[in-house]
Homo-oligomer: 359 residues x 2
């Protein structure tokens, strides 16, 4: 079996059947499938259907609750804390974002911290939910520790992504969705498959020295915060990752830093948890809580147009506005299908056999 | 005249007298002085008294209004837009932050966008105002364009700093205050004075090629977004700078991107403004809008203690928690005085002579 290209609908039916098989209620299975596959459509392959068997394995060891009672445990007019009851982050996150949007409708902005959750797919899905309401959306999450702060040899932070989605008028929305490391883990996986070296500044060895080996994490190495080293601002990348960790988990009551449970089922969560599950943080801000929405969107169109038309370095393409590549991928893959690499295709086939679902 | 060391009180009296001389009301002069000198205390020399003569020159050409009518022009329970009436950002910013804090007191969080302002000193001062209320504080501002987005040869963004200040219990607060570029402009000024080269990844030449010349900006070069180049994540630094620009200026109605007026009085603002003055954005979130403040602060203490005690790369100092270096500088300089380099000392002496204030 080599790589395979399948339609979005085909993969959607498969993933949905898998979520139903692990006893997700019908509406939650649909939501989880939508969120999961939005990653594949947007070209963020590391966060899409490639993770499906991982979610199932977490459910098998009772670390994912497929029928959670998701509830608000504390709130003010503009804030809430949601307890995800150990459910799939794919389900908990959009429900928490809906609460942020409701609060923004009422008082201008809404901010929701989530505890007792699991991996939530791509941050972009959740923050983009705000766009159709003429709101700015924000989403962030902590993740299992793979990143060494500046000067540290210990892995204390996850790749802790942030997404900010900002509506425009005629132009497509501005959607900045990025890990707070120099390179996301998915980038390393691509190099591993191609047997290529990583650039300096992405990873370090177990002792903190420079490495270009994309397999270094297996030997106790670490990803590096955005910036790579102190001279190039890695302390700022550390600030960003720490900010995400604290908003997602110290505000909500989830596990933070080195206590965040691992995504993989074969590694046990730390024995002395400081909170419940992993944490997320969501925000929604009504644009017209600041100025009339049309006025704002006209200026966003002007901002985007001006930046996109900037003079480029010779031989370089036009300036990329955050969200451009993902939107192009979405259109292309919806039309031409989603290509799975050999390893993912085999993994899904095996999953289908195990659960008796045709792949 | 070589470098000079003066006490905080001495410099405070001088700066306050200068602000009074340009007709700032007494309370506003005091506030502007407090904010300005907090930069010198915290070791961010580029944003402190070194800029005083620059503010005066902007006032001389009628680009700073020393007696502004600062007012809220739009609001919801959790948001406000403040029109700074062309005043000093040093005065407008803390007043806007007060509004954010008031709103957070009422509805959990408060978010204030500011237009028609000027340079606001260090973001840290404003966000740290939240700490004594057991709130998380955020501050950001756009600035005159010196930064080229990834692939661009045009300077379209400022160094656009962000600060997030988070209260702790026994431990000092977490205060991450950083420019969204690889290196802040102040770092280049230090290299210029020492006649040293900059590392690769900080700046580019006019044509977008690599430069290590700290004077490159005078020849049309640009600072680079955090990350430095595409391979090292400069598109993420661009996302951050763009986010700050849009929150500060497109939400508020200030100038954004290449339209942001220059700080220096000898350069004219763009002839076709898209908004009023420069823009800022502030946030305050009550910790107990999420969980009991004591509980939160205990976990912050645990977070900080765990990260600070992490195992370091051999020969490296302990892990630096955001805010540590600035807090140490504050204590040291309050005790031993603030050292001004020769150029700044001469500039202030000249300013004193011009305004008839003893330096």
């Amino acid at each position: 079996m080599k790589e395979m290209t399948l339609t979005y609908d085909h993969l959607w039916q498969f993933a949905n059947a898998v979520f139903r098989k692990i006893n997700c209620p019908e509406d939650q299975a649909r939501l989880a499938t939508d969120v999961l596959l939005s990653a594949d459509l947007r070209g963020i392959d590391s966060h899409g259907i490639a993770r499906l068997s991982g979610y199932v394995r977490l459910w098998e060891v009772n670390r994912v609750n497929s029928n959670p009672d998701i509830k608000t445990v504390h709130e003010t007019p503009s804030t809430a804390v949601v307890d995800g009851d150990g459910g799939l982050g794919l389900v908990i996150a959009p429900k928490a974002m809906e609460i942020a949007i409701q609060k923004a409708t009422q008082v201008g902005t809404g901010w929701v911290a989530v505890k007792n959750s699991n991996h939530f797919g791509i941050a972009g899905y959740h923050s983009m939910m705000a766009l159709k309401h003429d709101m700015i959306g924000m989403a962030m999450t902590n993740a299992s520790p793979l990143v060494a702060p500046t000067f540290s040899v210990e892995r204390l932070l996850g790749t802790n992504p942030i997404c900010v989605a900002i509506p425009a008028g005629q132009q497509p929305a501005f959607v900045a969705d990025f890990a707070t490391t120099t390179a996301a883990n998915g980038k390393l996986e691509i190099l591993q498959r191609k047997n290529q070296e990583a650039p300096e500044g992405w990873i370090q060895k177990k002792d903190g020295s420079i490495s270009t080996n994309p397999n270094e994490l297996k030997d106790g190495g670490a990803l590096l915060p955005l910036g790579g080293d102190r001279e190039h601002g890695s302390h700022k990348g550390f600030c960003l990752g720490a900010w995400v960790d604290i908003f997602s988990a110290v505000l909500s009551g989830a596990n933070y830093g080195p206590w965040v449970p691992p995504f993989v089922s074969f590694l046990s969560p730390p024995a002395n948890p400081v909170g419940e599950g992993i944490g997320h943080f969501f925000g929604a801000m009504r644009v017209d809580a600041f100025r009339p929405a049309d006025e704002f969107k006209n200026h966003m169109d002007n901002w985007i147009t001006r930046f996109r038309s900037a003079k480029t370095v010779e031989g370089m393409p036009q300036i990329i506005i955050p969200g451009d590549p993902e939107r192009e991928s979405h259109a292309e893959r919806l039309k031409n299908g989603i290509t799975l690499n050999q390893k993912v295709a085999e993994d899904l086939k095996e999953l289908g056999s195990k659960l008796n679902i045709a792949f």
